[in-house]
């Protein structure tokens, strides 16, 4: 990990005032979302959501959990790149990716709590293990996501300890001084877990809808569903890291890690290639090309979704395209939209519980989701301002708190 020696890539707190005008706007959205959450917790799912017996999963699952954790696969995707493919030069991107992942998964967990009707009994799930249904995919997803959320915060803990060793409060300093060397030794195991868990539950998110059987439309109903979810989440993870890196450098006025982000843009290509081969090959293999070009609702949504997945690599094809930060950002956005649409399609559009059922998220659901995402942004901004997450020097360069070896 020679890249660490370059002091330019050592992470440091961004600093500066927290309540910028942008943060204030986001805080208002988060506040409205908090009110919607209070309403949901007080009056129940029936009052706050459009969920029904036909569509017991709505926006909170399709977006916050399924799409949200796929976007939060940045940490997983970067760990694959850095630790499995041994591309150590990308290490500076791992920490910000882990931070967005940790927030994404935490938000997903909060959404699940909100989505469970009798949320006050949820604490029993991890404890009453002798009641577990070990054949349940949902149990696996639930436990995996819970475990991985903890793993993510543990993976991120060195950033907090590095800040803690300079703290003025003695006990924080003491804990940090002991925690840092411990984490350095333990991190390899945590990282291993962090690679295993997402592989398990990101594919299981696909398996969940495979269990719907004939209720899932033929265009998406394939035994490859878990693999397609897994492959696309890796691509979306890279795209999320690219977007986050570009956006953070732009908003926080820092020098972007342009060559790394461009490299990630290149890394997306084989992933998307594999995804497209699987997706289109599966449609051909199952003889669904006719359905793909039937130009009904399902066909049009599939075509848009596949079109986005084709457009993204086309926008990243040449080195020149990838060097253009604006284009790189747009390509990542297209990929994120495609991945999100794929997940919405599978979870809400392709899933047909029978005649007479319909679902569209209520205002309350939308406000909760918007509020949670805003909360995530607020948390991200707060942490990068006070803890060593981002690399690259700001215009008024601050010295890194602890140079890594």
């Amino acid at each position: 990990m020679s890249a660490h020696a370059d002091v330019r890539h050592a992470p440091g707190p961004v600093g500066g005032a927290f309540f910028t005008p942008g943060v204030k706007i986001v805080a208002v959205v988060a506040g409205i979302g908090a009110l919607a959450i209070v309403y949901r917790l007080a009056f129940g799912l029936g009052a706050a959501t459009n969920l029904n017996d036909g569509y017991p999963w709505g926006l909170w699952i399709a977006f916050d959990v399924v799409t949200g954790t796929a976007l939060a696969c940045g940490g997983y995707a970067m760990a694959l790149l850095v630790y499995i493919l041994n591309k150590g030069q990308y290490h500076p991107l791992v920490r910000p990716a882990l931070l967005t992942s940790a927030f994404g998964y935490t938000i997903a967990g909060v959404s699940v709590v909100l989505d469970v009707g009798r949320y006050w009994l949820l604490w029993k799930v991890p404890l009453y293990f002798w009641h577990w249904n070990l054949n349940s995919v949902l149990l696996e997803v639930a436990l995996c996501i819970m475990a991985y959320t903890m793993v993510l915060w543990i993976e991120l803990s060195p950033a907090f300890f590095e800040r803690g060793v300079t703290a003025e409060t003695p006990w924080i300093r003491r804990v940090s001084e002991r925690g840092l060397p411990f984490m350095k030794k333990a991190l390899v195991w945590v990282i291993a877990l962090g690679l295993l868990l997402p592989t398990m539950h990101q594919s299981s998110l696909g398996s969940l809808l495979l269990l719907a059987g004939p209720r899932l439309h033929e265009l998406w109903n394939t035994p490859l569903l878990p693999l397609l979810f897994l492959v696309s989440c890796v691509g979306m993870g890279y795209a999320a890291v690219v977007m986050e890196g570009a956006l953070a450098s732009s908003v926080l006025k820092r020098r972007p890690e342009r060559e790394m982000l461009a490299g990630l843009g290149q890394a997306i290509l084989p992933v998307l290639g594999l995804y497209l081969v699987l997706r289109l090959g599966d449609l051909v293999w199952r003889g669904q090309l006719g359905a793909l070009f039937a130009f009904d609702l399902y066909s049009v949504l599939s075509l848009i979704e596949i079109g986005l997945f084709i457009a993204a690599p086309l926008m990243l094809a040449t080195e020149r395209q990838r060097a253009d930060m604006g284009n790189l950002f747009r390509a990542a956005m297209v990929l994120v939209l495609g991945g999100a649409l794929y997940r919405f399609d599978v979870y809400l559009v392709a899933f047909n519980p029978g005649a007479h059922w319909s679902y569209f998220p209520s205002v309350g659901e939308t406000l909760v989701t918007a509020g949670l995402v805003s909360l995530e942004v607020l948390g991200y901004v707060m942490i990068v301002k006070y803890f060593p997450i981002l690399t690259g020097r700001a215009p008024e360069a601050r010295a890194p708190i602890l140079a890594r070896t």
């Binding site: 459009n50 029904n52 017996d53 060559e259 253009d324 950002f329 406000l367 918007a370």
Partner: protein, 378 residues
Amino acid sequence: MSWSARLHPITPSRPPTLALSRRDFVKVCTMAAAAVGMSSTAVAQVIETAATGARPSVIWLHFQECTGCTESLLRTSHPDVADVILDLISLDYHETLMAAAGHQAEKSLQDAMAANAGKYVLVVEGAIPTKENGIYCQIGGRTAIEMLEDVAAKAGAIISIGSCASWGGIPSADPNPTGATGVSTVLGKTVVTIPGCPANPYNFLGVVLQYATFGTLPALDDLGRPLFAYGRTIHEHCPRRAHFDAGRFANKFGDEGHRLGYCLYKLGCKGPQTHANCSVMHFCEVIDAWPIGLGSPCFGCTEEKLAFRVPAFQTIDIERPTPPDTYPPIYAEQGGVSPVATGVAGIIGGALVGAGYVASKKIGAADADRPSDDRPAS
């Protein structure tokens, strides 16, 4: 007087050993009162009135008929009920049942009329012939028309029982040689009409008991029929209605559908146009003792336009077809899309995409303006 009555005069005898228990008495009273649709407190009053012996005086005239209505009144499932009926009403003159004959019988009629003038209930059973001044039915030298007008003049209430007395019934069937017609036509006024061939005795008893207890008569339809019994068609409450709705029909007598108890409509059942309560109040306290219950199509005996007019096996139109030929949806619509929710989602989604595009422009512009020394050394 009908010939059978003259040959076999019957005296209503009540051996003491067969005296009815109070329980059975109350049961019969309750059924009769319930048939009229009385409330439970009214039923108690009826029972009280009947038990204390303040029985309504009834004068029963027979004209052109078969005595079937009297038979149905007496041939209840167990003989004691007939006695109860005779307990409930004071049958002061009944040509079939009384022991008297000849001038003695005529005298008893005059006595009964004088004793209860303005209070007695006149029950007419049988059609009244009107052709040739009504000479086709005479008793003691008087025509049916004369007798009817005489007795009706002093009656407190007039009931025509059975289809014959109601509008002419079977004696009035084409070509109607005697000009037979019903009581209300002869008297020129509305009377309580209890059609049926025979009429259900409980509908009759209910009317009489209501009159005896409260001095009132039940609400009638435009043909003089009590609404409590004739307000609905047989079809509306038919136990085979589910088969009709499902399209399961007996197509001929003895076929599989007929044996399985399917709807008899295609065999000419007149239930869809016949107003009567036979489908809910069977005869003689025997379950399914009514035509459709026995596998025979209803022949419309309570309807002047059907019975003895329309051939028994000819199908008829459905009156008030319910339910309509479309069913309401079995599932209620669940969920929905509110315009506000769509708008909010659209605004947020659009704002995100728009903000993303603007950000990409900014990032691109900032990147293009970067100082050259900041470029990565490749």
